[in-house]
Amino acid sequence: MGRPFGGIVIETLIVNVLLVLMAFAVLVLARTRNLFAVVVLSGIYSFLMATILVALDAVDVAMTEAAVGAGVSTVLLLGALHLCKSEEARPAHRPWLPLLLSLATAGLLIYGAMGLPDFADPNAPIHQHVAPRYLQNEVDVPNVVTAVLASFRGFDTLGETVVVFTAGAGIIALLRRRKHKEKGREGIAMRDDLVLLVVGKLLIPFILLFALYVQFHGDFGPGGGFQAGTIFAAGIVFYAIIFGLDKARRVVPDRLVETLLAAGVLLFIGVGVAGLLLGGNFLDYFVLDKDPIHGQHRGIFWVEAGVGITVSGVMLKIFYMFASRGQREGNEE
């Protein structure tokens, strides 16, 4: 600890305090039987996770976790909870066997983890292999995370985008109902709440603008398609919660959402095929322009756009499916 005392101690301290808070949140979460409290606790846990990711220099990941983990998943869990109206039952017997198994697993994993390099050891193998090459900025995009995501590991990202698309399609298959008449039903809305109405009206344009900023500034700062898509969807979800689902569906109709859901993946694949047609490999951006570096920028731009479109489509569609089911359920009663 001879080096500048402040740096090491403060950074480690911040991370460790946040870790303890997270462990505490999970402990309470595991013991609580009130499912509403469980959902709120999992939101808090996700937010702590986002904070710790900032402390660990993973700003892009932190942004995604804050938008997805603390935002969208909490909304989805609350939606599912509303549909299931459930309180956790008391188990018939003490769960000794799971506890024993968990402790044994923990013991083994900690034993194994002790052999891993120290926290923040600059000589650890993880810092020796490919990371130095990524940091040389071959494609001239300041945000290395964006460069790796869209260019170096483009195949990986394509796969992930397809998984997100597939999950969206699966949810449509599970929750779709063939025909129902929408007879001008208002649905649940907070139209009487003046404060929410005014604040919502003021905020929503800026949320959408921020989503676009995150999308197109992703090359230079934290951001990119995954975050932007979620934030964009969150803006519309906010609108739906305040002004009612039907109004939101008039602004962003189901057809459009379903088109977006597929269009993003197709755009991504299209960029890959464009590389093929221009004489390169699949997802080879160097051939997309006379200047290879400019070609990279072009490829990254369109790939990120594809990711953003699909992610926003899927997030919105999922919310629509859950919300409209709740609405009909409520009307049947």
Binding site: E11, V15, N16, L19, V20, M22, A23, V26, L29, A30, V39, M49, L53, L56, D57, A58, V59, V61, T64, V68, S73, L77, G79, C84, S86, E88, P91, P98, S102, A106, L109, I110, A113, L116, P117, D118, F119, D121, A124, V130, A131, P142, N143, V144, V145, V148, L149, R153, D156, V163, A167, G168, I171, L174, F226, T230, V311, I318, M321, F322
Partner: protein
């Protein structure tokens, strides 16, 4: 190189979170609680990946002339996509839960099994 508990504190907490998620999935019968446990398990993996990439005194991997030390960008990329896939699969699980609730009228594992057994018994009695 090899340190003690202090140097491996992040790993230990990661393991704790992971195992807590595992325990919730195994021990709790409520399907929504199980899914929350699953997502805790999933989230702990984020730490497992991102924490080793951190360098003390480093900064986020967004290149600028005034910085020389950057944390490792590769785990960030892997986890960023994992988060979005994670919420998509969570939503799929929740959709299944909603359908189970509509079919069985409950989302407690024991009661679902009991209902299944009752149907099975009735069929056996018929044949």
């Amino acid at each position: 190189m090899s340190g003690g508990v202090v140097e491996h504190f992040t790993y230990i907490v990661t393991v704790f979170l992971m195992v807590a998620g595992l325990y919730i999935v195994m021990a709790r019968g409520n399907l929504i609680k199980k899914l929350v446990g699953l997502s805790v398990f999933q989230t702990s993996v984020y730490l497992l990946y991102v924490a080793p990439g951190k360098l003390i005194g480093g900064t986020a991997p967004i290149l600028a002339p005034q910085y020389t030390v950057y944390s490792n960008p590769l785990p960030h990329v892997l986890i960023l996509t994992a988060i979005v896939v994670g919420v998509a699969t969570l939503a799929l699980g929740l959709a299944l839960t909603v359908r189970i609730k509509e079919t069985y009228g409950t989302i407690e594992e024991d009661e679902i099994t009991a209902a299944d057994n009752a149907v099975q018994d009735a069929e056996d009695a018929h044949s």
